[in-house]
């Protein structure tokens, strides 16, 4: 009997977060360009962060098993 499906999804999001803020991906955006006047690295981190939280909310609030 493994963890329930909600747990599995959240663990997957944890791994996604590790990918977002981990070595290769984060540094791809670390080039010093600006988008709409905002440095790309800042924009990336905050957007990825917000996306991650949004996905966590989706999974956590999902009804049923």
């Amino acid at each position: 009997m493994g963890p329930d499906i909600k747990s599995q999804r959240l663990i997957a999001l944890f791994l996604l977060g590790c990918l977002f803020f981990g070595y290769p991906l984060l540094y791809l955006f670390n080039v010093g360009d600006t988008v709409l006047g905002i440095p790309l690295s800042f924009l990336y981190i905050f957007l990825a962060w917000a996306l991650l939280i949004f996905l966590m909310a989706l999974v956590a609030e999902r009804k049923g098993p």
């Binding site: 963890p3 909600k6 747990s7 959240l10 663990i11 999001l13 944890f14 977060g17 590790c18 803020f21 981990g22 070595y23 984060l26 540094y27 670390n30 080039v31 010093g32 600006t34 709409l36 006047g37 905002i38 440095p39 690295s41 800042f42 981190i45 905050f46 962060w49 917000a50 991650l52 939280i53 966590m56 909310a57 956590a60 609030e61």
Partner: protein, 930 residues
């Protein structure tokens, strides 16, 4: 406006407001209408994670390293994704076992070990005191900066204030009073403080609003929005360098390893900081609140961090470099623009951060110090005879209050002595690294049953020692308490042992370096020592309770054997929580188990002992509760083998119950099948009865007439010759009918039993049909029925038994004649060939039959209509026999009909398929055998 007394009045008024909120929260809790029992307040109270360090320090860190401040908040976001798995389990364990602190958790997990509880408490106190001093430092620094308004003077440049004239000391004491009142007013087994949580949640709102206000002010009032601010920032080289990770002036955060290690560090910190454990686990009302908190709390932190970079860049652009400490930008920017109200709001926000942290942290630490450090020691000193004192509640409260004052004063002392050596962030990280040492023993403890007490002790001790050596001692050296040569050249000049480059490991920042070594040793010792030994009986039993916490079946296993009287346990509980509360507790237990209380007839069983022990554990900690309960009851020690066998029994019971479930499911299925079979049997039985009565009727009719005429011939010798011939004729005819009937029965049972001999040759179905038509032509003529033929010129040959197929066709034809319309009756026979089969259709224009009859006519001894009242028009065996024959040659025989629309009997036979070489005996449902 910002005169000194305004600042003092406002800060005291704010703390007064906190009192009011906390008082209201407690009052509502007393009325049973909790205001904190919802996931939003729970999530806000988790915001106690954001301290003065977040409020002021993040900006300071951002000014020297760009996004270097963020891992401290990204880590908790990642951890929050695991909360549903980890935090929920910890909450469940704590609720079940009445665990009220981190130290208690570790002690309880590893066999209620007082030694482990004490060690955790010491690590927590040593690790957290600098963190508390950091909060005090922030309050003190902001007060000092604010006092000098409209000038902006950095606190470092101010002369030290004498202790007794230091407003900070009085604020610290005020906080102690607050904590006394709302944290230790009474002893409660659950150790929950509703009013306090309400106040903390309120503070979380205040600090967020204050910080966002400054962010909006800087971004949109001082500058024209984010883009403008970044564009101006990009013109300054020292600011632009912060746009990329690894830029800036600090060595920390340079490498991806630093980022990763800080993220990892804060992941552990958000779980194992005593204050986080307090609000997330101990003060948790409902574990389902975790579901909302796991995204609301990260969202809270995201909101908090939105304006950190704009404020940092705004400050760097606004002030001349090095004139103002970036740690104070949040406060000094509104001051520089003379927004006095905003500056005051910021000060209140910072105060919220600091007070919230200090209050919860001191409560958590005081619970640990009391339950896991002082009480176990006091209870062991026999000369104090503590175990015999009638009422210990006063003593417990006194110890807790003493611990609160002690922790606060330690924090204050550290601030006075060492506070200026470090920036805010560095002090906070030292504390983070200390509590991260709890990670292996706690996370390992809830997922791994093999851990031993020695392993936990070794891991914690090793991790703590390395933390002490690589982080705390260097901090002392930088504060001037140790010679700097200790850092630069190593102890006694041994370069290999340099605390910040241990064994020559260089190139990492101090936190990553310390984390690497301490975690390596912590985890290594924990795993290594655990695997080298075997967990003791006590540890094994606790391991089961912890690791299987989410599987409710295990809750019923109690690892205890001995004798005890309920009255003794009641008296014991009464000494620690008061007699009144002990009565409540026992009444509740009695009600749940259908017993009466008070009564001295109770023999306490394992469950009651466990119940009392958990109640007690809530007040004095698991280890002390164990000692006290052991003193009150006669226990027999359990060996590991016995615990294992209890566990085995428990797991056997689980296995049994699983099996039982499976068996009962199987049984249900079998019952259903049996019922269906029974229904079938019943209907078959009825068929047989119908047959027996129908056929015996059929048999009796000819037999009766045979008998009657035979008797007439015997009794009446004077019967005329014509009459005699006529009678004999009847007897012969009737006997032939009997023989025909019996032949058919024999025929069917032979086919069914597979004992028929088949003469298989290549035959033409066209010829079979033609011959059958010829054979039945007389029948058609007798009944005046018109027969229509629709036959092809030739068809493929098939291999089958010619006579048997003729029997089928004749049967269908004679049935059609029997049932077709009485006037203008007609029958049409059609033979056709498809690529794979030959098909014969026999259609009549009779009254047809409904679906029910269509189903039964192929059953043996059944005819359409009621076989008993309608005069039977045959034996009822023709169609079953025909179907058996057709199926023998892999064909199919069926009927299509509707009432009033005649009936079409059809059969197909495959072309080119070889029939089975020999018969396989088949089971006959009704065994009418020859």
């Amino acid at each position: 406006m910002l005169s000194d007394w305004v600042i003092v009045v406002v800060s005291f008024a704010y703390v007064g407001l906190l009192f009011a909120v906390a008082y209201y929260g407690d009052k509502r809790a007393g009325q049973g209408r909790s205001i904190i029992a919802n996931p939003y307040i729970y999530s806000l109270s988790l915001g106690v994670y954001a301290t003065a360090w977040t409020f002021y320090g993040s900006v300071g860190r951002a000014a020297s390293s760009g996004i270097g401040f963020l891992p401290i908040y990204l880590g908790p976001t990642l951890m929050a994704a695991l909360w549903w798995v980890v935090l929920r389990k910890i909450i469940r364990i704590c609720k079940t076992n009445r665990i009220t602190s981190l130290a208690d958790f570790v002690a309880s997990r590893y066999g209620k070990s007082a030694l482990l509880g004490g060690l955790v408490t010491i690590i927590a106190v040593v690790g957290i005191v600098p963190y508390i001093s950091l909060q005090l430092k922030a309050i003190s620094a902001t007060i000092a900066v604010l006092f000098h308004y409209p000038e902006i003077v950095m606190p470092q440049k101010l002369a030290a204030v004498p202790v007794l004239r230091d407003p900070l000391l009085y604020i610290a004491l005020l906080l102690a009073v607050f904590t006394f009142i709302f944290g230790t007013r009474h002893l409660d087994a659950s150790e929950r403080h509703e009013g306090l949580v309400a106040a903390i949640a309120f503070e979380s709102l205040v600090k967020l609003v204050a910080f966002l206000a400054v962010g909006v002010f800087v971004t949109f009032w001082m500058y024209d929005g984010i883009a403008d601010l970044f564009a101006k920032a990009a013109t300054r080289a020292e600011v632009r360098s912060l746009f990329v990770i690894g830029g800036g002036t600090t060595d920390i955060y340079r490498s991806s390893a630093s980022l990763a290690s800080l993220t990892f560090l804060s992941m552990l910190a958000v779980m194992f900081l005593p204050r986080q454990f307090q609000v997330a686990v101990v003060e948790n009302v409902d574990e389902n609140h975790v579901k909302k908190a796991l995204w609301l709390f990260p969202a809270y932190m995201l909101a908090f961090n939105l304006f950190v970079l704009p404020i940092a860049f705004g400050g760097m652009l606004h002030f001349t470099p090095d004139s103002v400490d970036p740690d104070t930008f949040v406060l000094t920017l509104p001051m520089a623009e003379h927004w006095q109200g905003l500056a005051l709001l910021v000060f209140i926000g910072g105060l919220s951060c600091a007070t919230g942290m200090v209050i919860v942290e001191t409560i958590a630490l005081s619970t640990m110090v009391c339950n896991d450090l002082v009480m176990p020691v006091l209870l062991r000193i026999r000369s104090l005879r503590l175990a015999e004192r009638p009422d210990l509640t006063g003593l417990l409260l006194a110890i807790r209050r003493g611990a609160i004052v002690l922790v606060l004063l330690l924090g204050y002392a550290y601030f006075r002595l060492a506070g200026e050596a470090y920036a805010l962030v560095s002090i906070g990280l030292i504390s983070f690294a200390a509590v991260a040492q709890f990670g292996p023993v706690i996370l390992g403890g809830i997922f791994w049953k093999g851990a031993t007490r020695a392993g936990a002790l070794a891991g914690l001790a090793a991790g703590f020692s390395l933390w002490l050596y690589t982080l705390l001692l260097p901090a002392f050296a930088k504060s001037g308490w140790l010679p700097m040569s200790f850092l630069d050249k190593g102890p006694f000049g041994m370069a290999l042992l340099k605390p910040q480059a241990l064994f020559g490991l260089t190139g990492l920042d101090e936190i990553t370096h310390a984390m690497l070594w301490s975690m390596l040793c912590n985890l290594g010792c924990y795993l290594g020592v655990s695997l080298a030994g075997r967990p003791s009986a006590a540890v094994t039993s606790q391991a089961t309770l912890f690791v299987d916490a989410l599987e409710s079946t295990r809750e019923n296993v109690r690892f205890w054997r001995g004798t005890a009287r309920a009255a003794d346990l009641h008296a014991l509980l009464g000494r620690f929580v008061g007699l009144e509360r002990a009565d409540e507790v026992f009444l509740k237990y009695a009600r749940r188990h259908g017993l009466s209380w008070p009564s001295d007839r109770w023999e306490a069983d394992a469950e009651l002992v466990h119940y009392v022990e958990t109640q007690l554990a809530g007040t004095i900690g698991a280890a002390s509760a164990r000692i006290m309960v052991a003193s009150a009851v006669k226990e027999e020690a359990l060996t590991t083998e016995e615990v294992m066998s209890m566990l085995d029994k428990a797991s056997q019971i689980i296995v049994y119950s699983h099996r039982l479930e499976q068996k009962s499911r199987e049984l249900e299925k079998a019952t259903a099948e049996l019922r269906a079979a029974n229904e079938r049997l019943k209907s078959v039985d009825k068929l047989k009865d119908d047959f027996v009565s129908g056929v015996s009727h059929e048999l009796r009719t000819p037999l009766t007439s045979i008998l009657a005429f035979a008797e007439i011939l015997r009794e009446s010798p004077h019967v005329s010759e014509e009459e005699r011939t006529e009678f004999l004729e009847i007897i012969i005819n009737e006997s032939n009918r009997l023989i025909r009937l019996i032949n058919e029965i024999l025929d069917l049972s032979k086919i069914e039993a597979g004992r028929t001999e088949w003469r298989i040759t290549d035959i033409s179905l066209l010829e079979v049909v033609k011959d059958s038509v010829t054979a039945t032509s007389q029948l058609f003529r007798d009944r005046n029925v018109h027969l229509e033929l629709d036959l092809p010129d030739s068809v493929s040959l098939i291999r089958a038994d010619r006579d048997r197929l003729m029997q089928v066709v004749i049967n269908l034809l004679s049935n059609a004649v029997k049932f077709c319309a009485e006037k203008n009756g007609w029958v049409r026979i059609r033979l056709s060939e498809t690529p794979h089969a030959l098909r014969v259709d026999v259609k009549d224009n009779g009254k047809g039959m409904d679906l029910k009859d269509q189903a039964v006519i192929f059953e043996k001894f059944r005819q359409a209509g009621d076989g008993l009242t309608d005069k039977p028009q045959g034996t009822g065996l023709g169609l079953p026999i025909s179907r058996q024959i057709v199926e023998r040659f892999n064909g199919r025989l069926w009927v299509e009909s509707a009432p009033g629309a005649g009936a079409t009997f059809s059969f197909t036979l495959p072309v080119g398929a070889r029939p089975p070489a020999q018969d396989e005996p088949r089971e006959a449902v009704v065994g009418v055998r020859a």
